[in-house]
């Protein structure tokens, strides 16, 4: 089924499988829209479908677990120092105390409470990652719509640029950009957004190409609607599924990327209690047996990324169902 609409760029076979699954989802969405005779019915029907999807979502254990973990970290990020048991910045204890009843996660090399630092460490990354993800999804959607709808030489040129940007692994490109432009929170967010835009563009473009061949788009064109109208009013609502999935996935990967860049010294800077930074400062002590200052923030990163992946995966499954 997917064979007549493959994205023609090289190494697309992997994408084809995903596109096939997504396409199946769109076809259903398309039918849903076509089925409504009057516009009011259509809207009611859409609302109904949305409600059903929400119910399906809440029935998935993966979604519930992921959402719960996310919620815990959001509470930590908002509460910050107000809810941590001790100060995340001041050394109030002897260094390298193993986990005990006072310091559940032990204390680090300076005698700071690791639990407090892990809780406070949620904030910076939970501000930076969603901003970067939203920027990349907005930019990627815009580019994907234009490229997928108009095709032609614009698409061809931009596809090549996207391909070139994707040929450098995210962290390598991130290090190059941060090194030449200088380190700051704005550069970090901008870098992650720029790194993710081509990935989002590729997904949205593939979805738009599949959608643009369907009857409702053709008929809108025949009605003489402008390109802008067809793209924003006709195609965009029907590719919103993969865009939402992409947004969730991107938030997860933004956490991943920011944590890694911070770990390498090219991301958030001290005195932020960022998790990546904490691991960077303490992983060397593991060899001497002091594992807790590095392992707990490491697990925090893993849990946050895994939680967003679970949520994204559940949303994708429900949209495809």
């Amino acid at each position: 089924m997917s064979m007549n609409v493959p994205p023609p760029e090289p190494s697309s076979a992997a994408a084809t499988v995903e596109v096939a699954a997504e396409e199946a989802a769109f076809e259903e969405l398309g039918e849903e829209v076509d089925a409504g005779a009057a516009p009011i019915d259509m809207r009611a029907e859409r609302r109904q479908a949305r409600r059903e999807r929400r119910k399906l979502l809440l029935r998935r254990p993966g979604f519930l677990v992921g959402a719960l973990i996310l919620l815990i970290w959001i509470v930590c990020a908002i509460g910050g120092e107000r809810i941590t048991p001790y100060s995340p910045f001041d050394p109030e204890f002897p260094p390298f105390r193993p986990p005990n009843t006072t310091n559940w996660f032990g204390t680090d090399q300076l005698g700071r409470d690791v639990l407090s630092r892990v809780m406070a460490g949620a904030r910076d990354v939970l501000i930076a990652a969603p901003i970067a993800a939203v920027i990349s999804v907005v930019a990627g959607t815009l580019l994907g719509l234009l490229m997928g709808y108009y095709r032609g030489w614009v698409d061809e040129t931009l596809s090549r640029i996207v391909e070139a940007l994707l040929s450098i692994p995210v962290f390598v490109m991130g290090i190059l950009i941060v090194t030449s432009l200088g380190l700051s929170r704005i550069t970090l967010i901008g870098t992650v957004a720029v790194l993710f835009t081509p990935i989002v563009t590729r997904t949205v473009r593939a979805a738009v190409i599949a959608e643009a061949q369907l009857d409702y788009v053709v008929s809108a064109k025949l009605r003489g609607e402008s390109g802008l109208f067809v793209m924003t009013q006709e195609i965009l609502p029907n590719v919103s599924g993969p865009i939402i999935v992409e947004l969730t996935v991107r938030v997860g990967y933004a956490v991943f990327t920011i944590a890694t860049l911070s770990f390498l010294g090219f991301g958030l800077q001290r005195p932020s209690p960022d998790w990546g930074l904490q691991v960077a400062d303490t992983y060397e002590f593991i060899q001497s047996g002091y594992w807790w200052p590095a392992i707990f923030p490491a697990l925090a990163i893993a849990s946050l990324v895994f939680a967003t992946t679970l949520v994204a995966d559940s949303i994708e499954a429900v949209l495809a169902a």
Binding site: I161, S167, A294
Partner: protein, 319 residues
């Protein structure tokens, strides 16, 4: 096929040229201030900064600088490292060799394991075995490399003492000793890449199992073996080949963090240190090398797919 190969290679070269342009824009055009000042820091005298800029040619017109970068890419002669005053390639090739050893060990373990798990999950679709493979794959590929590296270092290296904690074997040690030392970072790579490859294999196998041609093959009475090898595997593994090509090309991303944790002087370490010291000749050379490796890997993957599936050749030839 020849036509396809020529087109595909030409496309890679074009992409590489674009990549060089993007890198040029980032480093020479968008970067604020002059490179000499960046390298030497705020306390260096203006004369030394000017001298360095002169040596680097950053005062030349942009077009001259751009052409020089392209020449560097083509000849792969990048001049001398700022930091060590030796030719860049003298640093680059040994580092690449060490990284290749580590990546090779990881891939030899990951690829068979992930393909086996993905195929198994597809054949036992929706059973507990399938769900666990999918979930483990999802979890393993969502954990950042440095996180799994640190956790493995603690559990298998420090706590259980199974493998050396740092990756570089003493000088002159035999192959087995070297492998032993590389085991922990390689296992961290296995964790990261297992998920992607297994999930893609599963998706590809399911699609092939459900395809009409498989049903036809079964109905016309071919043996299980014939159906499995001639029809299912041949088609199911195409997305897998593609994802392996991309992931091998991206492996240096993981190596930057893992080589730091396990103190291994490979290409990742070289990139990190060059960036930290603003050693632009080394950094540019390493970034372009990583890009070239990615191009070669995806090119090979596409050629293998084209060889496996004539339809892919035709489609790519048409556009």
């Amino acid at each position: 096929m020849t036509r396809y190969v020529v087109r595909r290679v030409a496309l890679s070269v074009l992409t590489l040229l674009l990549l060089a342009t993007i890198v040029f824009l980032i480093v020479f055009v968008f970067a604020p201030g002059d490179v000499g000042r960046q390298v030497l820091g705020p306390f260096a005298s203006q004369e030394t900064v000017d001298a360095l800029n002169e040596q680097l040619g950053t005062n030349d017109p942009l077009l001259t600088q751009y052409l020089r970068l392209l020449k560097n890419v083509i000849t792969f002669d990048w001049g001398e490292s700022f930091q060590y005053q030796v030719p860049v390639t003298d640093l680059l090739w040994p580092a690449l060799g060490r990284s290749a050893k580590l990546a090779g060990l990881a891939l030899v373990m990951t690829i068979p394991l992930a393909i086996a798990a993905g195929t198994y999950a597809a054949r036992k679709r929706n059973t507990i075995a399938d769900r666990s493979i999918v979930t483990v794959g999802l979890a393993s590929s969502s954990i950042p490399d440095f996180v799994s590296g640190v956790i493995l270092q603690y559990l298998l290296g420090v706590k259980l003492g199974w493998f050396p904690v740092l990756a570089l074997a003493p000088r002159g040690s035999g192959v087995l000793t070297q492998l032993d030392y590389l085991m922990l970072p390689a296992l961290a790579l296995v964790i990261v890449y297992f998920g992607y490859i297994a999930r893609m294999t599963r998706a590809g196998t399911i699609q092939a199992l459900d395809a009409d041609y498989t049903r036809t093959a079964v109905m016309k009475g071919l043996s299980r073996r014939q159906v499995s090898h001639g029809h299912v595997m041949r088609n199911a593994l195409q997305p897998t080949v593609s994802v392996i090509g991309v992931q091998v090309g991206y492996i240096f991303s993981s190596l930057i963090a893992l080589e730091l944790i396990f103190n291994y002087p490979g290409l990742g370490t070289l990139i990190r240190q060059a960036a930290g010291a603003k050693d632009y000749p080394v950094l540019l050379a390493a970034v372009m090398l990583v890009g070239i490796i990615y191009m070669v890997c995806t090119l090979l993957a596409d050629l293998i797919i084209a060889w496996m599936n004539p339809r892919a050749r035709l489609e790519a030839g048409r556009t």
